[in-house]
C-alpha cells in the first residue's frame, strides 16, 4: 500500500522533520504511529496525503510516487484516501448530511447516489437520525463520527487519522475506535497517529514510534511504550 524509501523532509527553515525514513505498510494493515510531540508524526502523515512533499527519497502509494505528482493531480490522489483530524474540520454552516455529501459533490456524483451513499455511511457511524442537525448541536464524539463518515464515504482503501481521539474523553474515544475497527474489518488500510496509551495497549495493532524523524521502534501487536 505505502512504501517509503529513504524519505526525508527538511523545512525551508532548516528543521529536519523526517530523516531518511524507510517503511512498508501492507494492504489492510492497521498502523499506530506514536512518539513525542514534534517528533515528526504530523509531517509523516502530511506527506502521505501530499500536504507536504518529501525533500528526498521516494514515497509510493500503490506504486504512485506521491512526491512527484503534479499539483493538478493532487485532487485525484485525495479522492482515493480519507483524512481525519483531531479538530474534525466540519463546516458549521452545513448539516451533518451536507458535510458528508460535500465529499461526493466535489467528485460530481449524482444526487440519488449521493443520498444512498451518505445515508449508508451515516448508518455505519451510528448517526442516521442526526442527519439534519448542525455540527454545533452534536457532542465531540458525534462530530468526529461525522468527519469519519465524510472520510470514508468515497470508499477509500487508505484512511489517514491524525490523533482522531485527541479532543475526546476516554469513553467517547472507545466508541470512535469501534468505528475504526469496523472500517478496518471491511478491508481499509488505516494509519493513525495517536497519544492514547489505553487504546494502543488494548486494541493491539502494529505500532511504529517516531523520534527525531526516524522510526525507532516497529512492533507487530506492539504496546504504546511511553510513560506519560
Amino acid at each position: 500500500m505505502i512504501s517509503m524509501q529513504k524519505v526525508s523532509k527538511v523545512y525551508p527553515n532548516g528543521v529536519v522533520a523526517v530523516d531518511d525514513l524507510d517503511l512498508e505498510i501492507r494492504d489492510g494493515e492497521f498502523l499506530y504511529v506514536v512518539g513525542p510531540s514534534g517528533a515528526g508524526k504530523s509531517t509523516f502523515m502530511k506527506m502521505i496525503y501530499r500536504e507536504e512533499k518529501p525533500t528526498a527519497g521516494q514515497l509510493l502509494i500503490d506504486g504512485l510516487d506521491v512526491g512527484k505528482i503534479k499539483d493538478r493531480h493532487v485532487p485525484k490522489l485525495r479522492r482515493q484516501l480519507g483524512v481525519i483530524f483531531q479538530d474534525f474540520k466540519l463546516l458549521p454552516t452545513l448539516t451533518v448530511y451536507e458535510n458528508v455529501a460535500f465529499a461526493l459533490e466535489v467528485v460530481g456524483a449524482d444526487t440519488s447516489s449521493i443520498r444512498k451513499q451518505v445515508m449508508d455511511v451515516l448508518n455505519l457511524v451510528g448517526l442516521k437520525n442526526k442527519a439534519r442537525n448542525y455540527p454545533d448541536e452534536l457532542s465531540g464524539g458525534e462530530q468526529q463520527r461525522v468527519s469519519i463518515a465524510r472520510a470514508i464515504v468515497n470508499k477509500p482503501k487508505l484512511i489517514i487519522a491524525d490523533e482522531p481521539t485527541g479532543n475526546l474523553d476516554p469513553e467517547t474515544a472507545w466508541g470512535i475506535m469501534e468505528v475504526f475497527e469496523e472500517i478496518h474489518r471491511r478491508g481499509a488500510t488505516i494509519v493513525m497517529a495517536t497519544h492514547n496509551r489505553d487504546i494502543v495497549d488494548k486494541i493491539r495493532h502494529r505500532v511504529i514510534a517516531i523520534e527525531n524523524g526516524k522510526v525507532v521502534r516497529d512492533e507487530e501487536k506492539g504496546a504504546y511504550g511511553y510513560d506519560i
Binding site: 496525503y49 493532487v74 485532487p75 485525495r78 479522492r79 483524512v83 474540520k89 466535489v106 460530481g108 449524482d110
Partner: protein, 300 residues
C-alpha cells in the same frame, strides 16, 4: 453531470452571497457608489461632448467682401474659397440679406434706421465652415489672402479658449472615471478577499476531500459576478429614470435659447448604452475582484 455541477456552482455562488450577508452588502455598496458616480459622470461627459461638438461644428469664418467688388469677382471669390484645403461649406450672404438680418434683430426699432435701406453700409460676406474646427486658423489665413477679401473674422481667442476648456473637461472627466473604476475594483477585490478569508476553512476542506481548483474557483467567480452585477442594479435604475427626468426638466429651458448648440442627448438611446456599459463594468469589476483574490488560497 457537467450541467449538474454547473448548477451546484451557481447555487453555491448565490448561497455564498447570502451567507456572507454583510460582507456582500459592503461589496455591493462599493460597486453601487462607484458605478453611480461613473454613470452620472458618463452622462455629463456625453452631453458636454455633444455640446462641444455642436459648438465646434457651429464655428464659422466670416469673410467680408470688399464693397467695390463686382458680381463676377464675388462669384470667383466664392469658387476660390471652396478650393482652399479644409473648407467644408461656403454660404453667400448678400448686403440685402445682412440688412434684413440686422433689421430683424432690431425689431420695432428698425424704423429709426430707415435711411440705411437706401445706402446700405454693410458688407456682403461668405460664411465658411471648416471640415475640422481645430484647423480654423489655417483656413482663415488662406481665405484672408484671397483677392477681394476685406476682412476675415472667426473670434480666434474665444475659440481657442473654448477648445482648451472643453478638452480640459474631457480629460478631467475621463481621469475621474478611470480613477473611480480602479477604486471600485480595489474595494471589491478587498471585500471578496475578506469573503474568501472567512471561508478559507471551507476551501481547506474542499481541497482535503479532493476538489479540483476549478471546482473551488467557480462559486467564487459566480459570487463576484453576482456582487458586481447587483452593484450595477441601482446605478442603472437611477441613470435610466433619472436622466429621463433631468432631460425633461432641462431641455425645455434650453430650447428657449433657440440655439442649435445646447441640445442634450435624447434619453432613449443614451441611457440604454450607459446602462449596458455599467452592467458590463460591474460584472468585470466583480469577476476581476474575485479571481485576483483567490490565487493564494489555492496553493497545494
Amino acid at each position: 453531470m457537467i450541467f449538474k455541477t454547473g448548477l451546484r456552482h451557481l447555487r453555491e455562488g448565490f448561497k455564498g452571497t447570502l451567507r456572507n450577508g454583510w460582507m456582500s452588502f459592503a461589496a455591493i455598496s462599493a460597486v453601487t457608489i462607484t458605478l453611480l458616480l461613473v454613470g452620472v459622470f458618463a452622462l455629463v461627459m456625453f452631453n458636454i461632448n455633444e455640446i462641444s461638438d455642436n459648438v465646434e461644428n457651429d464655428v464659422e469664418i466670416q469673410v467680408f467682401i470688399t464693397r467695390t467688388a463686382d458680381e463676377n469677382s464675388v462669384e470667383k471669390l466664392g469658387e476660390n474659397i471652396e478650393q482652399v484645403p479644409g473648407v467644408s461649406t461656403v454660404t453667400f450672404s448678400s448686403k440685402e440679406d445682412e440688412l434684413a438680418k440686422f433689421q430683424d434683430q432690431l425689431g420695432d426699432d428698425a424704423a429709426a434706421y430707415g435711411t440705411v435701406e437706401k445706402d446700405n453700409p454693410l458688407h456682403a460676406r461668405y460664411i465658411v465652415k471648416a471640415q475640422d474646427p481645430t484647423e480654423l486658423e489655417e483656413v482663415a489665413k488662406s481665405v484672408g489672402s484671397l483677392d477681394n477679401v476685406d476682412d476675415v473674422k472667426y473670434g480666434k481667442d474665444y475659440i481657442d479658449k473654448m477648445f482648451a476648456f472643453f478638452n480640459g473637461i474631457r480629460i478631467g472627466g475621463l481621469a475621474l472615471i478611470v480613477g473611480l473604476t480602479l477604486m471600485a475594483m480595489f474595494l471589491i477585490s478587498n471585500t471578496i478577499k475578506m469573503t474568501i478569508f472567512s471561508r478559507r476553512r471551507e476551501i481547506e476542506i474542499m481541497r482535503l476531500v479532493g476538489a479540483k481548483n476549478s471546482f473551488i474557483r467557480w462559486p467564487f467567480f459566480i459570487e463576484g459576478l453576482l456582487l458586481g452585477m447587483l452593484g450595477a442594479l441601482v446605478p442603472i435604475l437611477v441613470i435610466y429614470f433619472g436622466y429621463d427626468v433631468a432631460y425633461s426638466a432641462l431641455q425645455p429651458s434650453l430650447d428657449q435659447l433657440n440655439s442649435d448648440i445646447f441640445k442634450l442627448i435624447d434619453p432613449s438611446t443614451l441611457t440604454v448604452q450607459v446602462s449596458l456599459v455599467l452592467l458590463a463594468l460591474g460584472a468585470f469589476i466583480g469577476i476581476w475582484g474575485s479571481t485576483t483574490s483567490l490565487g493564494r488560497f489555492l496553493k497545494i
